[in-house]
């Protein structure tokens, strides 16, 4: 079962992503245990995890935040497809970086992307889910780590 101290790798990965890819640090809030369904944003990138751990890691963000992130990356395509691409890439990058601590047997899928505020996330029974709040510029997003 996911332990609180193991969340550090995801907090560090999120911090690193915004510092490097967005060239502007985010403020990462204190992780908390998820009870019920979290409030989701417009776009959600989901990585399924298998191997030594099972579950999902997902990044959910509002369109306005993703638009600014794309601008910071010098992108000029702000289409629905670009938003989907970006949330998937953020989730993939943070999950892939977690293998530095979890090792090669932390197997991650290619990203899948859901839209809307009521997406059906395939939580693994018995997994503990933690929410890592992300504040960047004037926007809020979340990384949810739900692993056995």
């Amino acid at each position: 079962m996911l332990r609180e101290e193991e969340l550090k790798t995801f907090v560090d990965g999120t911090t690193q992503y915004f510092e490097v890819a967005a060239q502007q640090p985010a403020t990462i809030g204190s992780p908390y245990l998820l009870e019920g369904e979290p409030a989701m944003h417009d776009y959600t990138g989901i990585i399924s995890v298998s191997g030594k751990r099972e579950g999902v890691v997902y990044f959910t963000a509002p369109r306005a935040m993703l638009t600014v992130l794309l601008m910071k990356m010098q992108e000029n395509d702000f289409s629905h497809e670009s938003m989907r691409d970006l949330v998937g890439e953020v989730a993939n990058t943070i999950s892939g970086n977690a293998r530095r601590d979890f090792g090669h047997d932390f197997v991650i899928s290619v990203p899948s992307v859901l839209t809307g505020d009521k997406p059906d996330i395939p939580h693994k029974p018995g997994a503990r889910s933690f929410v890592i709040p992300i504040n960047w510029r004037s926007h809020s997003a979340k990384l949810v780590v739900s692993l056995t």
Binding site: Q16, Y17, V20, A21, L70, M73, Q74, E75, D77, E81, S82, D85, L86, G88, E89, N92, T93, I94, S95, G96, N97, A98, R99, R100, F102, G103, H104, F106, I108, S109, V110
Partner: protein, 131 residues
Amino acid sequence: MSTDSNADGGRRQVRLLIVDDSNIVRRRIERSQRLGEIEVVGTASNGIEALELARRTDPDLVTMDLTMPQMDGIECISRLIELKPSMRILVISALADKATAVQAMEQGANGFLHKPFTDRQLNDAIAELIF
């Protein structure tokens, strides 16, 4: 690898193939290589597309993602090396464990850059492989 001189005495551009399942990442790498001695000869979103493009475009250098649908980067690296043993391959991946880097190198990759990356890190990693 160094850039060869052509018949006119000029330096031949290095031919780059970009492989990543993210359009955003492909465009980012492409933008960073617009100027200079590198010519982007193609972009692919998975290993199968990459092999087809490599046969058609004869790249000298490939940037290769690992986690991709249809054919992942590790398998694609070994197939590309079979196709052209002198091809230089820079893996650009979020997978940050040592075993993955070792596995990629064993298949024939020449360098490894972790995502996320800055333009400078990208250009330094490419320069290390080709100049």
